[in-house]
């Protein structure tokens, strides 16, 4: 690895950074099944795993099916308190032998490593994604960043094998400046890749909100100085530890905004289920407020309010639809309604990725579409902004519709079709909004489930892999 020169913050940057204070947080994190085995957890948590559950998990230790090696167990006290009363949250956070019952799947189905010009950066669109933290406050069992979180080695496009590294300011900033310089000199497009200016960076990981305020501030300022107009922070901390969004964090953001008033912040939050932010009555039901809406957990509501009180910060929710957690139209309906009511936009729902050890969580694509569609019945237009998205190598793709009716005279469409629409397209977006239509396969969990029934492929989702239309392969 090259060792670039140490990053020199500008005077403006230093003035901002000198005002930042770190908050102090006690997340009450418990990591590792061993803690539950030995009883070395707070007394109330001792029954979180039954003796049978613990025995079934530890039996797999050291085997190919080692659940803890796939993803270490990790939970915060806040999440535990909610999960006690919620089966879906338990599925999200508790390890289960089912996770490794089927080990098929691809290592990197989105082939994201192809788009990584410097360590810790995925540069696919005019938006770049950076890894700034290698852990989260707790671990979702369905996490698809397991190679980063569990520190696994990945194969790079050049064939080398190494653990995924984090982005470094001193490497990333020169890359952004150089990319944007070339784009500007070349009339708005990169001369080789055709990409636009890098305008937006998504800070991800891991969860950037595990970092201290000073670390987050250093990233925000460095990105702003490099000319980034919008910064996203991808975080599940509102669900895991909402007290992280405290006054010291907001004070840092306010100073940042004073220093860089044109830069937008987009908090990309991650709620899977309304149990993660709503209070429950003794009987397990949500609590209706006399003045309307349902009652939120006080600290989660306060955190959202603090963010939304700042007009330069947007809050968007995005979440995968996962078996046993939120494959439930009623839960998703409540979630979309309550998030919108509190000023959180419903952005994407995702189909689960076809990664190794992931089948325990996957809902088939067509079923996920039906669940989301069902959940949006009875919601108003502004509450139904969320789309179902599946990540293709070429770009984010919407599962736009699933029909029950056949298309008359079209072989392969006897059971209806699935209409896929490319929402984003890498580089200079040549294929944006183009459509692919495939014959239905209710079992399909990934694009490959339709390889033998492609009916129309304007978007090139299949032709990119040399997969022909059904009509033409039948003729051949």
């Amino acid at each position: 690895m090259t060792n670039p020169a140490k990053y020199q913050p500008s005077e403006r940057e230093q003035a901002f950074l000198s005002t930042v204070e770190n908050g102090k947080y006690n997340r009450g994190i418990v990591t590792g099944i061993g803690k539950f085995m030995s009883g070395d957890v707070p007394e109330e948590m001792r029954d979180f795993y039954s003796a049978d559950e613990l025995a079934a998990l530890t039996e797999l230790d050291g085997s190919q099916r080692d659940v803890q090696a796939r993803m270490p167990v990790k939970i915060t006290r806040h999440y535990f308190e909610q999960a006690k009363k919620s089966r879906p949250m338990q599925v999200l956070i508790k390890a289960s032998p089912n996770e490794t019952a089927d080990l098929e799947g691809a290592e990197d189905p989105g082939k994201q490593m192809d788009y990584s010009p410097v360590e810790g950066l995925i540069h696919k669109y005019e938006l770049g994604l950076i890894y700034v933290a290698s852990t989260c406050s707790a671990h979702c069992r369905f996490c698809y960043r397991e190679e980063l979180i569990a520190k696994k080695e990945v194969t790079r496009p050049d064939g080398t094998v190494a653990p995924k590294g984090l982005a470094r300011i001193e490497e990333l900033v020169p890359y952004i400046l150089e990319h944007n310089r070339l784009v500007a000199e070349n009339g708005g497009r990169h001369p080789e890749t055709g990409r636009e200016k890098l305008r937006e960076i998504l800070m991800s990981g891991g969860d950037p909100m595990v970092l201290g305020n000073k670390n987050i501030a250093a990233w925000l300022a460095a990105l702003a100085e490099a000319g980034i107009e919008s910064i996203r922070i991808g975080t599940k901390e509102l669900a895991f530890f909402p007290d992280r969004f405290d006054e010291t964090f907001m004070a840092m953001l306010d100073r940042f905004h004073e220093t860089y008033p044109e830069v937008n912040l987009r908090m990309m939050v991650h709620f899977n289920h309304p149990d993660e932010f709503l209070k429950k009555a003794e009987d397990g039901s949500y609590i209706e407020q006399p003045a309307g809406g349902l009652e939120w957990l006080d600290n989660t509501r306060a955190a959202v309010r603090r963010l939304r009180a700042r007009n330069w910060i947007n809050v968007d929710n995005q979440a995968p639809i996962i078996k046993g957690i939120n494959n439930d139209p009623d839960a998703l309906r409540v979630m979309q309604r309550e998030l919108k009511r509190s000023g959180v936009e419903n952005h994407y729902f995702f189909c689960g990725r076809d990664i190794v050890g992931y089948k325990a969580f996957n809902v088939p694509i067509e079923e996920a579409w039906q669940i989301l569609n069902e959940s949006q019945k009875g919601l108003s237009g502004v509450e139904t902004h969320a789309r179902l998205s599946i990540t293709h190598y070429k770009g984010k793709t919407e599962v736009a519709a699933v029909t029950n009716e056949p298309i008359p005279g079209l072989p392969g469409a006897e059971n209806g079709v699935v209409i896929l629409k490319l929402l984003r397209s890498a580089a200079d977006a040549p294929d944006r909004a183009k459509v692919t239509i495939v014959g239905r396969n209710p079992e399909a969990i990934w694009f490959s489930g339709y390889d033998d029934r492609v009916l129309f492929d304007e978007a090139g989702l299949y032709s990119i892999y040399g997969i022909d239309l059904l009509a033409r392969s039948n003729a051949a």
Partner: protein, 107 residues
Amino acid sequence: MTYVVTENCIKCKYTDCVSVCPVDCFYEGPNFLAIHPDECIDCGDCVPVCPAEAIVPDTELTEAQKPFLALNAELAESWECITEQKPSLPEAAKWDGVAGKLEHLER
């Protein structure tokens, strides 16, 4: 859970751990560093960078190392937080690996 700084940090204090800690949970004494157990988020990033191999998860402490769990908690409360790497102590290389360093711990 938390990670724990153990005996071999004493009189070495390399501070490589401080440069990688995402949450700034290291606290600095005269010749030792301590991790605040409530603030540590169990990422383990500090473990491979420690030249003295002094950092251990609390689940893997040997019997001899176990007292360091409470010691880290106690010292982190009384010492100042350290957020930037600095040069190691002058005789770090000489003391790295020496047994029985606990008696040299300065508070």
